[in-house]
């Protein structure tokens, strides 16, 4: 498949952050990703859309090696090259923990740890062995500010994260992911468990966040993909059907299959 780079697609100054190259993935005997290729542009929002079971979450979870946690999962071909290192993330000699320190993740359902708001935000810093109280305080504050949560929780940092509302919990999870200064944040349907108002605030936040990080988001909500992403990839049955600039995918898709999905004739 001919891949477009950001420049060719008409977005100026787009630089590659990562490049998925002919990636194959197996859950046991099930071939979940079939020679998938796509670019990830630096400081852009890239969304993955497609019907349930198309492999979009599977692809997302390759980026931070989440599949390594379960037996039977295999990266069976190709790879994901991370820039500027120019290294394949999926190579066996790469330490998944090092990958996860640079590529963080926010999940579908808010999953704050059974700890205080402060300790949730400080979690990845503590995991890296940071002890200095002042440094921790600063990093926690800037992470919570980055997740647009600071004003709501600055007076109650000792309370349990689970006491927050669903939308606040999800922003706490974003703060948790931001605290380590990651290069990429992966979002796996981050708003599907939230009400419309909380969803709007998360979407706004994602658009702001691309100043700092590269964002890859899986979403079931096509309007959401259209609203927040610069690039969109449409996947179906483990294959990459079409990748392009979001406006182009939604207004003038190149493939009939993409058009059918987007216009709701299918899926």
């Amino acid at each position: 498949m001919q891949l477009q780079t950001g420049l060719e697609a008409g977005i100026e100054g787009a630089v590659l952050k990562a490049d998925v190259r002919e990636l194959d993935f197996h859950y046991g005997a099930f071939h979940a990703l079939k020679r998938v290729s796509m670019p990830i542009h630096d400081h852009m929002v890239t969304s993955l859309i497609g019907p349930s079971g198309c492999g979009k979450s599977t692809l997302l979870r390759c980026f931070n090696r989440m599949h390594d946690l379960y037996p039977g999962n295999r990266y069976s071909g190709g790879g994901i090259v991370l820039y500027p290192d120019n290294t394949n993330l999926l190579a066996p000699e790469v330490d998944p923990i090092e990958v996860r320190m640079r590529i963080s993740m926010v999940f579908q359902k808010p999953n704050p740890f059974p700890k205080s708001i402060y300790e949730n935000a400080a979690y990845c810093l503590r995991a890296r062995g940071m002890r200095n109280k002042n440094e921790l305080d600063d990093r926690v504050e800037s992470a919570l500010k980055g997740a647009a949560l600071w004003n709501e929780v600055s007076g109650r940092l000792k309370e349990l994260g689970a006491n927050l509302s669903g939308g606040q919990q999800q922003r706490l999870c974003i703060a948790r992911a931001l605290a380590s200064d990651p290069e990429i944040i992966l979002f796996d349907e981050p708003t599907s468990a939230l009400d419309p108002i909380a969803t709007a605030s998360i979407e706004e936040l994602i658009i702001e966040l691309k100043e700092k990080v590269t964002i890859l988001i899986v979403t079931h909500n096509m309007q959401q993909a259209a609203r927040i992403s610069d690039f969109t990839a449409y996947m179906y049955l483990g294959e990459m059907v079409e990748f392009g600039v979001t406006d182009q995918i939604f207004i003038k898709p190149q493939k009939k299959a993409t058009e059918d999905y987007i216009t709701g004739r299918f899926g």
Binding site: R100, F107, P112, P114
Partner: protein, 317 residues
């Protein structure tokens, strides 16, 4: 659909004119009632037995406390029901119970927790499937066997380290009791840890945490209520354990918190009195009811503590 003659008119009072097809079926109704009564009586029976036990203990203890003032029972430092100068200080037996339970818990809680963490967070599927039944087998060994094990195997070994250790001692009994309790603590703690949603673990791994960090910082706090319940059950087992102590700890009442001495516990003393020479109905014999009531109140307190802990820490995730 057009209105038919059988359709109830809207103006009819509610509840009148039920058609045959909707009326209550007598046979079904009766059958349900019988089953309900059977289930109720099964539940009521267990409640009745509990109440009856408490009634007997309180009634017999009442007789005892009419002769022996409760202050003597609580504060006297001797337990000599057989002597002419009889003393009934429960503290003596309580010290034996607390010492042996303390030793047992020092073994069972750390080891049980570590085993649970390993099985839940580190062991592969195969290891867990093999190790867990073996672990649970440890809890199924009859306690009399543990008692002999303590007396004839562990005590001689301990005597090589401490030559002054008497043949009957609380230490050996407590250590073996701890081994007996490990499976309870480990198995229940592991269930609690495994019940922690995978989403929490994934959240931790996704932040770059290691397995140990995830296990200690996320899984353990999330499973606190279940782990606390496991500990409480372990304590209740230790406090109520009889046979190991009767066999390996000696039965001399001894006010001591030193595990290297022999001692009687509340339970082992009850065995001794119940099987001994004291005439039925004598005040010495009545001691077993007062001691039994003390034991019951202790385990009740632990159960309430466990209940409170479960409520306090439940569903933090």
């Amino acid at each position: 659909m057009s209105a038919s003659a059988s359709e109830p008119s809207l103006s009819a009072p509610i509840g009148t004119g039920v058609s045959d097809r909707l009326s209550k079926k007598a046979s079904r109704h009766v059958k349900e009632r019988i089953i309900e009564a059977l289930l109720f009586s099964a539940a009521a029976f267990s409640v009745f037995v509990t109440v009856a036990i408490v009634y007997v203990l309180v009634k017999e203890s009442w007789i005892f406390f009419q002769t022996v003032p409760i202050t003597d029972f609580l504060f006297d430092t001797q337990w000599t029901p057989l002597f002419d100068d009889a003393h009934y200080g429960i503290m003596v037996l309580l010290s034996g119970t607390l010492t042996s339970s303390g030793v047992a818990l020092l073994v069972a809680i750390p080891l049980g927790t570590i085993i649970a963490l390993y099985l839940s967070e580190f062991a592969g599927f195969k290891v867990r499937e093999i190790a867990k039944p073996f672990l649970e087998l440890l809890g199924g060994v009859p306690t009399i066997v543990y008692g002999y094990f303590a007396l004839t195997f562990l005590t001689p070994i301990l005597q090589k380290v401490y030559p002054d250790l008497p043949g009957f001692n609380l230490l050996s009994a407590g250590l073996v009791m701890g081994i007996m309790i490990i499976p309870y603590v480990a198995s229940l703690s592991e269930d609690a840890m495994r019940a922690v949603p995978m989403a929490l673990r994934e959240g931790s791994y996704a932040m770059g945490a290691t397995r140990l960090q995830t296990a200690l910082w996320v899984v353990t706090p999330a499973a606190t209520s279940g782990i606390a319940s496991a500990y409480i059950l372990g304590i209740s087992r230790a406090v109520g354990e009889t046979m190991i102590l009767a066999v390996a700890a000696g039965m001399q009442p001894n006010l001591t918190f030193n595990p290297t001495e022999p001692g009687a516990t509340i339970t082992s003393n009850i065995v001794q009195v119940a099987l001994g020479d004291l005439p039925h109905g004598s005040i010495g014999y009545q001691t077993i009811f007062a001691a039994g009531l003390t034991l019951l109140l202790m385990t009740l307190a632990f159960n309430l503590l466990g209940y409170w802990l479960r409520k306090r820490f439940r569903e933090v995730y």
